[in-house]
Symmetry: C2
Subunit: 290 residues, 2 copies
């Protein structure tokens, strides 16, 4: 199975468990709507690519970690689209969960996906109990408070925002979690991968800012543009301009690719990082960066 198949199989299994017979039918539909069809599945692919580079000694645990990370990413999108945040009607080219099912069901679907993520990790690592706790600790840190996704989103409600902590928590943290979890699931050392995680998380934030500022039409992020400006959020394009932001993005991708430690799958992973970066860039600009 290639990486994408492993991820979709993991997601299908997790959703089958969460929406099993007895689940309120509307909630079950909302849970599936939040997860399928997916976006680029960047974070779980990164997780599995790092596990592969580390020798993939326990592919079942690596897939569980990748699945949990994507479930948590989907949960954060469902809650980000709620009226009290972005009030987004569209996500990944179709109605957002709150637009399709209403606020109450969207709130619960997000909660249910968070729980399903940790449940998946516990269930799928039964054969490797020494991995369960460390994987949950890594992934919970990436999404909770004080440094994860929840904290990142919360910075937007603070009277004073620390932009570095904000970006680190809102975007880089889950990339770092994906990389660390992939390494740990395969029996590797997460420390060796921290530069990669950091650089890639920052690169993704810059790409996100570029999309938001440029409105590329065919939007790889799957969400409406100009949200940062509308919501008064910091955006690197406003500070450095488009050319400056692109230069920064290229530099971050170089740093990420160069930081891949020597290991069996290192070259494949470096190639994946460079391809991913080009895929992430607004199409108008990608040619100049290839």
């Amino acid at each position: 199975m290639d990486l994408s198949e492993r991820i979709e199989t993991g997601m299908q299994h997790a959703l089958r468990m969460a929406t099993a017979s007895g689940c309120p039918p509307r909630l079950a539909r909302a849970l599936r709507h939040a997860v399928f069809p997916g976006g680029a599945r960047i974070r779980p692919r990164l997780c599995l690519a790092v596990a592969a580079a580390c020798g993939d000694r326990d592919p079942v645990s690596a897939t569980a970690a990748a699945t949990a990370i994507e479930l948590l990413h989907c949960a954060s999108l469902v809650h980000d689209d709620m009226p009290c945040f972005d009030n987004a009607a569209i996500r990944r080219g179709k109605p957002s969960v709150q637009a399709e099912f209403g606020e109450a069901t969207a709130l619960l679907a997000g909660d249910g996906l968070i729980v399903a993520a940790f449940e998946t990790l516990a269930r799928e690592t039964v054969h490797a109990p020494r991995l369960t706790g460390p994987l949950i600790a890594i992934i919970a840190k990436a999404v909770g408070a004080p440094f994860g996704l929840v904290a990142g989103q919360a910075w937007e409600s603070e009277p004073e925002i620390n932009i570095d902590q904000y970006h680190r928590a809102k975007t880089a943290s889950l990339f770092a979690g994906a990389v660390s979890a992939g390494a740990v699931a395969a029996g590797g050392e997460p420390q060796a991968w921290l530069t990669l995680a950091d650089a890639l998380g920052s690169a993704y934030q810059v790409a996100d800012d570029l999309y938001d500022a440029l409105d590329d039409g065919d939007n790889a992020m799957g969400k409406p543009a100009h949200q940062d400006q509308l919501n008064g959020r910091p955006n690197i394009v406003a500070v450095r301009g488009v050319a400056g932001a692109m230069a920064h993005l290229r530099q971050l991708v170089d740093t990420a690719a160069d930081s891949v430690p020597d290991c069996a799958g290192a070259d494949a992973l470096r190639g994946m990082i460079r391809n991913e970066a080009v895929r992430l860039m607004p199409k108008k600009l990608a040619a100049s960066a290839a």
Copy 2:
């Protein structure tokens, strides 16, 4: 340390971690507001009482399970009070999290508490990795979909409601989780405790319905009355009347106490169940049931 001290110490430690330096300050305040001062901490006390009755072989893991259960209960209260559900301004005699901090921060505080619950379980069972997965599986089942709290709340948004599944998911599931987790943390067999969990969960639901219908003034549930009627939710008092509901409650408490399996702390636990039941009842009615 008695049960209450163990719970409060566990909650303090979990909140110290979640609100550590670097946490957005407003989010940190909201997280603390959601958790302190607590309500009756019924579910974690039940968890620890069952662990004690089973010999309390691993008190650190039992406290971790109790703490996680209470964090999840607090998260559910924060989200239940949101405008898209009860739109409650008061909780435990003070402003609800959404009333004090706004919807956005309340949504994130609930999410953060869910994550903190699983993070606590992973962190505090490092010495006993064979317990981490089973405890997370039990507790996730009690709060997620298809059968936990999230599903229970979701039944309220369904066009047709299955009242038995609704009550089981919304109330009984977390009692069952508390009992099972307490037994497993102490090396006991959860199967022996399922009747107790079921009866106590149902008793709590009846008590909740009685409070809602009667508006006892000094409300042990810490929330406004007549919400069921206002929100068109099923309530056993509407079906059986006050006397019928009280008789049912007494019968459920008897079933719960009688079902305690033979073990070292059985008598103490039976006493706790009967005391808890009287404490739960609306004061107007408790005298007649003592």
